[in-house]
Amino acid sequence: MQMTGAQIIMECLVREGVDLVFGIPGGSTLPFYDTFQHYPQVRHILVKHEQSAAHAADAYARVTGKVGVCCATSGPGATNLVTGIANAWMDSVPMVAITGQVVTWLIGRDGFQEADITGISLPITKANWLVLGAEDMAQTMREAFHIARSGRPGPVLIDVPRDVFIQEAEFEYPETVDLPGFKPTLEGHPAQIKKAAQLIAEAERPLILAGHGVRISKAYDELRELAETAQIPVITTLLGISSFPGSHPLCMGMPGMHGMYWNNIAINEADLLIALGMRFDDRVTGALKEFAPHARVIHVDIDPAEIGKNVRPTVPIVGDLKRVLAALNPHVKAKSHDPWLAHLRQLREEHPSIDIPENDDLLPQYVIKKIYELSGGKGYVVTDVGQHQMWAAQYYWSDTPNGFISPGGLGPMGFGVPAAMGVQFAHPKELVWAICGDGGFQMTMQELSVMVEHEIPVKIAIVNNSYLGMVRQWQTMFYGDRRFATREFSPDYVKLAEAFGMAGLRVTDKAQVEGTILRALAHPGPVLIDFQVEPEECVYPMVPPGAALSQTLERPQPAARPAASREEVTARR
């Protein structure tokens, strides 16, 4: 059947099961947008900035397991996507970005709104295409979705010149894809799996390090079975949070730079690390040379390039985590590690990393802990980047599988608001919290208007400390407390929320926290809460950059920090 390039894209989107596209139209994509009216099953959400389109599609993909789709016009539209694509790349999120391009005869001639986006996005996509004829469109779309979702997922980009959207070609949907250079390994090697089971049987002080891969391959049940059968404590990396129930007695929380003290010491003492779908990021390992000095390592990952990249494993297994664990679990014998578990319990009691000081200050940790308690650990939590992100990781022990959404690898401030929007579009009936700092919130706050327009009931908590808090913390700790360019000016967030047409609440006192959160939870529409927290708080524990996990710093005793009076706090604002 003869169809235009734009129609072919739509037909392919429908066949790939895409029901939601985030984007902004423009000159080059007009012919594409002109076809949306004929495909009501593909809903388009007009965002306010292309970066938000990419972040929203990214978060949508993270919580649905489907491929997220965003689109933008040529030139500035396409370049605005770049941060969002890079974020999806770092966090292995399946995403298809469709960009318009100037007409074929203007390419490379500095046409209006031209940017070489296939060149620009080359290092942050699994693959990208400049489609020069409508006859290539169907094959390209098919391959794009296949590559984005298969193996280790990631973003791809399809660049379409305006005339190719209009060009007609015979449409036939390719049923199969044959890419000789792209054959991900899914099944783990049986001999390696047996070796892994052997190591688990021999271990006395084992730990599981659960990463994003558990969530991507939906290996929740398999992970739980492994942990419970062999009684192995589960440490969840930043992106591994919500791969294992936070309220489970074996759940240990986060390791690494701002991880729990007990976890960093445990890794230092462990004799076996079972690393599942995680990549030994520098924020997890600290100084590599001194990482887990006594441990043998089983490393399971779908990406062979991750094996041995940072930590050399004793038993490497390449494969899809769900399948590998399903094959491994029958070989794992029931065990109890009572002395080890007792030791860890004692560590936790002696070094309670996340106890919150009992005083009248409105502490950010307290705010997040209350959000967690009052939400019952349920629902979806989306973070931005910075101090509040680490506090959310420390205090929100999510029980919802896949319920904790945080941009870990790239760390792009501004992720929180559009990503929460993407999550809520995917799960309209679920509770979605966006926990943001005042810095990151102000980078993408224009999307509030999309939330109001579509009645997206996200609950936004701004942990407002009037600083780019994490940078300020580093200035305090490592730059002699010389604060420069970190004081953050904020508008009146309550008025701002009201200007957008959503509810705005302000909390300036500890006593108001519970009531305000409950009001927000009871409100049917989107709510913004401005928590004006104690500005001088630092995130602890902390492994100083370049130091080993064994050198984790704990929160200084209260005497070390002169308590700021309320007047001083007010004055600092």
Binding site: T104, I107, G108, D116, T118, G119, L122, L130, L132
Partner: protein
């Protein structure tokens, strides 16, 4: 616009990323690179890259001009087919038993090639010449079974006294010339 074959020679600073910039420009414009050969030039520190690609002449000229702006490209030119000497080298691993080895040697002789390695089951044949000659040798050897072939891609120099290499003043003058001075020498190197 008719697509034609072009031999582009670039003299570049031997630094990381130069090849990437050139290739990226061809990619953006949709040119497919048929062959690419890189090696040292007569000037220490300068590499010589020879590209063979297909595309409309006007487009190739325009991209070549854009590439001339790349800081690490000392000179780049589109060499006319009828004014250059070109060579390519191919190594072919051919199935050879006692029955057909003689026949293979005969073919190799016709093409003034050489047998550079032999085993009980194979020989490795080296052929040097134009692409046409290598294609012809390939066709002749194919019935015997070619297990592997590696071709270097075309290298080229201009005929006679004309040079496509660096001129005295050009080498020093190009990179730091003030903006607007010195007109692009694309296509005018001969």
């Amino acid at each position: 616009m008719k697509a034609t074959r072009h031999t582009i020679v670039a003299l570049v600073e031997n630094k990381p990323g130069v090849l990437n910039r050139i290739v990226s420009k061809w990619r953006q414009r949709g040119f497919n690179i048929e062959s690419l050969a890189v090696g040292h030039s007569e000037v220490p520190g300068l590499s010589r890259m020879t590209f063979v690609l297909g595309g409309p002449a006007s487009d190739v000229e325009q991209v070549t001009k854009q590439l001339y702006k790349v800081v690490d490209i000392v000179k780049i030119s589109d060499l006319p087919e009828d004014e250059i000497v070109t060579r390519e080298l191919a190594l072919m691993k051919v199935n050879a038993s006692d029955q057909n080895r003689g026949a293979i040697i005969e073919i190799v002789d016709i093409f003034h090639g050489e047998i550079v390695d032999a085993s009980p089951e194979t020989v490795v044949v080296e052929i040097t010449g134009t692409e046409d000659k290598i294609d012809a040798a390939f066709e002749m050897l194919r019935p015997h079974g070619i297990r592997e072939m590696a071709r270097t891609g075309r290298v080229a120099v201009t005929r006679g006294h004309a040079i496509s290499a660096v001129e005295e003043e050009g080498a020093a003058g190009h990179r730091y010339r003030p903006a607007g001075q010195g007109k692009p020498r694309v296509g005018s190197l001969l």
